[in-house]
């Protein structure tokens, strides 16, 4: 569940947009941050270096200024007349007091006077040193050359800035040396001006010494340990604080070189940089947050309508076409919404159209089979719930095909429309009248029992009693009606319609106009249904066998012509008579396969006999459906070709009724067959309505007189007359005449006397398998 959620989220447009833009911004911000940080870091480092440079310059300048100022001050003091007088004339005690006095005036902690002989005249720090050598001879020498000198010296463990100026009266009389202590306050003053931490160091024996510093005690202690490693420029870490440092040599005292150490706290210098960095991070975080929020909002603004449209599309899929798709903006989404709205409308219209086409018969405007079945289902459901009943009438027009053939399809269509109109007119409001197919109508009567239907059947029949007068062409139309009822004949639509169908056929066959279904019909049908499967298997399993019945010439030995008849030896049921399965095969359409099988077998057999030197002309029966198959001539042609059988050895027999449904089509097929050179025979002649005049138009070569006329031939004068005239007429039309069903010799004699060409019947031989036929022929030949 969770996984699915995440998977969906990952695919969501919102998330993708937001993630993309946020990531992009984060990338840009990171890059900017890195660049700015690098630049800032560099700038900060440079700034520190620059600060140190500047600080160093300022520091040096300060020192110089300080020295210069002090030198001037000392100079001024040295020019003081009183001091000069004291030096020029006074005793040491006076001189000392004068020195102290004047030294104090400019804040010097040390004042000395030395004579031109480089000996101390007075020393305020060590009054007892008068007469001793001046301790800082190099300074004095420098002062002798340049008029004054300054230096830095360690005296009694303290660091002093030392100045030497001459005392003139007016020529140089002596030198005054003044010392100003360099201590922490001095360093602090310098720090205030230079902006750097300042320390004064002396590299003396035994080790470095810090004399003054602005550093705190901890840093100072840390510095003390690192002094020996000091360089001119570098970094120091003092008590966890990092400093950039510069070391400047200030002078060379008698103890050793004197340095100033300038230090800039990096932490302090970098503080603004880190502050900026912090600000940047906060800004970046804020920008990302804003981007995220705005991104989500923007993305939702895009995907929200999309999601709404997706929902609309889902509802359309579910069949809801009445949604208000209300996104009215000019954007692509608005256009999409508009398209969707149009699509919804179009689908709704098209579906209505399709429904109409699907459920309505376009010719009559009545419900079609699909709609009828739905209504029937619904009616059955209602009847079931209400413990009620209903009836269904299946109405099939008689010989409608003939109307179509003779008067044309447009006329036939108008007849159908009129039938529909009349049926609808006599139906109740709750009834359903439908056209199921071709000339088949159905009437659903909810709530009506079959007995009630039968009582009122006259009302339906009267629909057809009235003449159809279309285009001034009166026409009688009859119909056969099958009646079934729920619940007695079935509890579902399929079952009911099947029963209605059977009842309708019964009515059609009996000519009674209508029939109520009875269960007897069911068993018959079901047996046949199972046979259909068996028959298909029979062809595959060679359960079918062809029997041959000789057609013996009046003056011949026989055995040169035979009719092929199919027999079925069922593995369980044994022998099944052709009357059982041939009509059934004709009804189901399976007759086509059956005929092909028979044709193939018979032609093969005829071919075999021909090759064996005892040719037999074989006749094969065609059914009505076969005659309507336009592919039949080609099939036959390829079969005889395959068997290498000349067409003279094949005769096809057709029944009179085979022409009746669609004579034009059948005639076309017959002509093609005849063109192949085959013989064509009319079977069962005399049972139908066709006249010889009609027969004359058919491309036939043979006439077979039905057994009904032949059986009683010897006893019935009427039949004899019919047979005789038929034979005569047949001969006159150039047809060969065959009598079938001949069972005794007297009949043979009569037929011979009448001039019948061939005789077929038990009197010569029953239908028999090919081998038996061979034996029979051999026996006949030996008889002669």
């Amino acid at each position: 569940m969770r996984n699915e959620f995440w998977q969906r989220s990952r695919q969501s447009l919102t998330l993708r947009i937001v993630v993309f833009f946020t990531a992009l911004l984060a990338l840009v911000l990171s890059a900017a941050f890195a660049l700015v940080s690098a630049a800032n870091l560099r700038i900060s480092r440079d700034t520190v270096a620059h600060e140190l440079d500047t600080g160093e310059k300022v520091f040096r300048r300060l020192l110089e200024q300080n020295a210069s100022k002090l030198t001037q001050g000392a100079g001024v003091l040295a020019s003081d007349f009183g001091l000069r007088e004291a030096i020029g004339t006074g005793d040491t005690a006076t001189l000392l007091s004068a020195l102290r006095n004047h030294g104090n005036r400019i804040g010097a902690q040390i004042a000395m006077v030395s004579g031109l002989d480089n000996r101390l005249l007075a020393d305020t720090l060590h009054p007892d040193r008068s007469g001793q050598a001046y301790p800082f001879a190099p300074l004095l020498a420098e002062a002798g050359q340049r008029g004054s000198a300054s230096g830095i010296e360690v005296i009694d463990g303290r660091l002093y800035q030392i100045l030497v100026v001459p005392v003139r009266a007016p020529i140089t009389l002596a030198w005054i040396t003044m010392g100003f202590e360099v201590d922490d306050p001095t360093a602090a003053d310098l720090q205030a001006l230079a902006g750097l931490q300042v320390s004064f160091l002396v590299q003396q024996r035994p080790g470095w010494q810090i004399y003054a510093s602005t550093l705190g005690p901890a840093q100072r202690a840390a510095l003390q340990t690192q002094l020996s490693a000091l360089r001119a420029a570098g970094q120091l870490t003092l008590a966890q604080e990092v400093y950039a440092t510069r070391r400047i040599q200030l002078g060379h005292s008698v103890k050793g070189p004197v340095y100033a150490l300038l230090a800039r706290s990096l932490d302090e210098a970098m503080a603004p940089f880190y502050a900026l960095q912090g600000t940047l991070i906060i800004l970046a975080g804020f920008a990302l947050l804003v981007c995220l929020l705005v991104g989500i909002r923007l993305a939702r603004r895009i995907t929200g309508p999309l999601r709404a449209l997706a929902l609309v599309a889902q509802r359309i899929r579910a069949g809801d076409y009445r949604q208000d798709i209300a996104i009215h903006d000019g954007s692509e989404i608005g256009q999409l919404a508009g398209s969707l709205a149009h699509m919804q409308q179009a689908i709704a219209e098209r579906e209505a159209e399709i429904s109409k086409l699907a459920f309505q018969d376009s010719l009559t405007g009545l419900p079609n089979r699909l709609r009828f079945n739905q209504r029937l289902d619904e009616a059955i459901l209602r009847a079931e719930q209400a413990q009620g009943q209903l009836s269904v009438l299946l109405i099939d027009l008689d010989r409608f095909q003939q109307i179509n053939d003779t008067l044309g399809h447009p006329y036939g269509d108008r007849v159908l429309a009129e039938v529909g109109r009349r049926l609808a007119a006599c139906a109740r409001a709750e009834d359903t009248v439908a056209r199921l197919s071709g000339d088949e109508f159905a009437l659903l009567l909810p709530g009506m029992s079959t007995s009630a239907v039968l009582q009122n059947i006259g009302r339906i029949k009267r629909v057809f009693d009235q003449r159809f007068d279309l285009d001034g062409r009166p026409l009688d139309v009859r119909a056969s009606i099958g009646v079934v009822g729920y619940p007695e004949h079935g509890d579902n639509a399929i079952e009911l319609m099947r029963c209605a169908d059977m009842a309708m056929y019964r009515a059609k066959r009996s000519g009674s106009g209508h029939a109520l279904y009875d269960t007897g019909m069911r068993t018959f049908r079901e047996e046949h249904l199972s046979l259909l499967g068996d028959l298909q298997q029979a062809v595959d399993n060679n359960e079918l066998i062809l029997y041959y019945q000789p057609k013996v010439a009046i003056n011949g030995a026989g055995g040169d012509e035979a009719e092929a008849l199919v027999r079925w030896i069922h593995p369980r049921k044994g022998f099944i008579p052709p009357g059982e399965f041939i009509p059934f095969a004709e009804q189901t359409g399976y007759i086509k396969e059956l005929t092909r099988w028979v044709l193939a077998r018979a032609i093969k057999q005829a071919g075999q006999w021909l090759r064996e030197g005892r040719p037999v002309k074989v006749s094969v029966n065609l059914s009505t459906r076969d005659l309507l198959d336009p592919g039949l001539p080609a099939t036959v042609a390829s079969l005889i070709d395959l068997a290498n059988l000349p067409p003279d050895y094949l005769c096809l027999e057709i029944t009179e009724s085979g022409f009746m449904d669609e004579p034009a089509k059948a005639l076309d097929v017959l002509h093609k067959l005849r063109t192949l050179g085959l013989s064509l025979a009319i079977d069962d002649y005399g049972t139908g309505y066709s006249s010889l005049a009609y027969i004359r138009r058919l491309p036939i070569t043979e006439l077979k007189i039905d057994r009904a006329f032949v059986l009683e031939l010897a006893h019935s004068q009427g039949d004899a007359q019919i047979v005789r005239s038929t034979i005569e007429l047949g001969h006159r039309l150039g047809l060969k005449v065959v009598a079938e069903g001949v069972e005794d010799q007297p009949v043979v004699a009569v037929l011979a006397e009448m001039g019948c060409d061939r005789i077929q019947g038990y009197v010569f031989g029953k239908p028999m398998p090919a081998e038996a036929f061979d034996q029979w022929r051999n026996a006949r030949l030996q008889l002669q």
């Binding site: 020019s79 007349f81 000069r84 007088e85 030096i87 020029g88 004339t89 002798g144 050359q145 008029g147 003139r168 009266a169 007016p170 020529i171 140089t172 009389l173």
Partner: protein, 202 residues
């Protein structure tokens, strides 16, 4: 001109008095001006010469720069400027302090002790004058050509000395005998080190 006159006056009592001619050069042989040449008699008390002199202050300078007088000479310090000066000396030979004054102070200052005296002005530090007080009336100052002359010296032995305010070391005295046929030309070579007094604006 004056010197000549003095010289002549000094020579008057001693007809046989000698005239010494001295040439003073520096270490490089260049003539040195303002060098004081004097002769100390090795025997006898020298006579008193002219015992007054004047050192002017003109345009904030002492004029002349170098003066030589005999012990006991009274020197006047007339101020020719229209501003005041305050002349002093801390030199051991004579310490004095003439407070701010204009014109000529009423009393001259008597230098009664031999030695060098450096004079300054307490107001104008750059003003300096050198005075050599000697115990002899026979002295002279070299001119721009480094030439000086002593006249009127009676015969006898003398120490001929030279002094210059800028001398770094004292040149050795020359023992001379003044008399008939005595050498009358002398040369002194001085080592000088000009004072590093820096520059002073007037």
């Amino acid at each position: 001109m004056k010197r000549c006159l003095y010289g002549l006056l000094a020579c008057l009592p001693l007809l046989c008095s000698a005239q010494l001619s001295i040439n003073v050069t520096d270490a490089g042989g260049q003539p040195v001006a303002d060098a004081v040449i004097y002769a100390d008699a090795l025997s006898g008390k020298p006579p008193k010469g002219k015992l007054n002199a004047t050192i002017d202050q003109i345009d904030k300078e002492f004029v002349p720069l170098v003066t030589v007088v005999q012990t006991g000479t009274a020197i006047r310090f007339p101020n020719k400027d229209n501003i005041r000066h305050n002349i002093y000396s801390f030199s051991p030979a004579k310490v004095f302090d003439l407070k701010l004054y204009s014109g000529t102070p009423a009393a001259p200052i008597v230098f009664d002790k031999a030695g060098q005296v450096v004079l300054g002005c307490n107001i104008h530090d750059w003003m300096v004058a050198y005075l050599l007080v000697v115990d002899t009336p026979w002295f002279d100052k070299s001119d721009a050509k480094g030439m000086a002359s002593l006249v009127g010296l009676p015969a006898g032995d003398y120490l001929l000395r030279v002094w210059h305010p800028y001398q770094s070391t004292e040149a050795p005295a020359q023992k001379i005998k003044v008399g008939s046929g005595a050498e009358s030309r002398f040369v002194f070579r001085l080592k000088l080190a000009p004072p590093s007094t820096g520059t002073h604006a007037k």
